[in-house]
């Protein structure tokens, strides 16, 4: 455990120093995060300019959901997403050998190696947005529901990580595949509650690409409108997704053949 914490500290520090060396790019990266969030928030306000409630969701509830989305996207963007993108590139060009030669567990190392500190901006924006969205309904939030909401959110991060790990691991099976880009686009759908989509598409977004468990379920937990069954299902989905992702990675690793000399 100490080794992992030390590694995380070293990688995080190195990435921060590297980003700080290019101040203009860092500033633009921060502005990009802010602007991306502002356009998403602007989309929500344009939407609610037309109707006060859309498919049972009020504006402040969707703002809370957007905050959850931004926070999750930021957490993934700090190191998980960039690390798994590098995993794909290393498998494709055969340089994954250098990861295998290191005296640390490959899957975890591949998930934490590359950091993008500027994504912390999204984490902060997401947290602030969640708090702002919850300000209209904070009276319905108890300590118990807050704990449940945090647990559900952690499960959603595990679910997203597992899906990204699964898609990145497909590079072991299908050389040249960079399917995580597709998930990035599917993840866009998590910006809105799944209740906004038609019923047939809701089924797809719940059970095929579990986008519903990424933002809608945590947002419902924050609004204290989640049943015990929903909580259990969300936790089971996270566990199953993690099992699938890690198994696909482990079996894929056995198929890996180096391209280096």
């Amino acid at each position: 455990m100490r080794t992992w914490l030390k590694l995380l500290w070293v990688y995080g520090k190195l990435a921060s120093l590297q980003d700080a060396a290019f101040r203009a790019n860092l500033l633009i990266g921060v502005l990009h995060g802010v602007l991306g969030f502002a356009t998403a928030l602007g989309s929500v306000f344009l939407l609610y300019n037309q109707a006060p409630v859309v498919n049972g969701w009020a504006a402040h509830e969707v703002v809370t959901l957007l905050g959850v989305y931004t926070l999750t996207h930021g957490v993934i963007g700090v190191f998980i997403g960039p690390s798994l993108e590098q995993l794909v590139e290393q498998v494709i060009d055969g340089s994954y050998d250098f990861v295998l030669l290191k005296p640390v567990k490959e899957r975890i190392h591949s998930s934490v190696r590359v950091w993008r500190p500027v994504a912390v901006t999204e984490c902060l924006l997401g947290f602030i947005t969640v708090v702002a969205g919850m300000s209209r309904s904070v009276q319905s939030l108890t300590w118990g529901s807050a704990v449940v909401a945090v647990a559900i959110w952690a499960a959603s991060v595990v679910t997203v990580y597992s899906i990204l790990l699964f898609l990145a691991s497909l590079a072991f099976y299908f050389k040249g595949s960079r399917l995580s880009w597709i998930f990035d686009s599917m993840f866009l759908m998590a910006r809105y509650p799944v209740d906004i989509y038609p019923s047939w598409f809701r089924v797809v977004l719940t059970w095929v690409v579990p986008v519903a468990f990424v933002t809608t379920v945590p947002a419902r937990a924050l609004n204290a409108s989640l049943s015990a069954t929903d909580v259990l299902i969300a936790l089971v989905v996270a566990v199953l997704a993690n099992l699938l992702g890690t198994r696909v990675f482990d079996y894929g690793l056995r198929r890996y053949t180096s391209a280096t000399g």
Binding site: G36, Q50, G176, R178, W181, Y192, I196
Partner: protein, 259 residues
Amino acid sequence: MRFLTVARETAMSWMAFRGFFFSLAFQWLLPPFVALFVWTAALKSSGRAGEIGWVTSFYLLMMIVNQFTYSYEHWTVGDAIRTGRYSRYLLKPMHPMIQAAAENVGGKMVFMSFNIPMVLILWVFFRSTIALDAYKLLFFAVSLALAAVLRFLWGHALATAALWLTRASSLLLLSDALLFLLGGQAAPTAMFPQWLSDLAGALPFRYMLALPVELLLGSHPHGEALRLLAVQSVWVLGVGCVSWAFWHLSMRQYQSTGG
């Protein structure tokens, strides 16, 4: 002839990795697809179900227009400048901007071969209809061509910023974010509040994306349509001149290493 040769060469080299490029094309279909459902739900909730057909047509057309006007060379040009590979553009007997445009056309041949069948399938699925006439089609075609040129020139100008900023992709992402909001993807331009509509009219993003769709779906008088096309043409000329000048200024300080 050289232009077509470069375009064909790009298309053929991309078709060798068609799985990857088709997955990219699929990715670009998703934002308008999401917006279609979101705005359908909003219109139903606000008691304006009669406008759903129009919104559906808007976003299905947006899928085609977005793909047709998309400029991905601004990513490759920026990276080529940063890694020093831009030298190969300079050594060829063809202006680098024309080369980039030819590669753009070649890439579109690949992407549109996926995009158009997908949109047609969605068109049938949603049973969408449009009232067409010859003038609307003409205005749409002209506006679409101008939008593609404008978006290419804009992207190329931003990509040239790689000579001053080591990662011009950040600027390009900024531009894409503004295009998403003001170009009609986040919301149909007809749904904008007045202040946002005025802002969109004063900036080039609406003319890069939403205008062709508005001209095909709307009922603009001919004079108004011609005025909008004139404004779009002015943007093309203006951004083209800036892009050209910026490129010439940038080449004065371009340096490359490597054998």
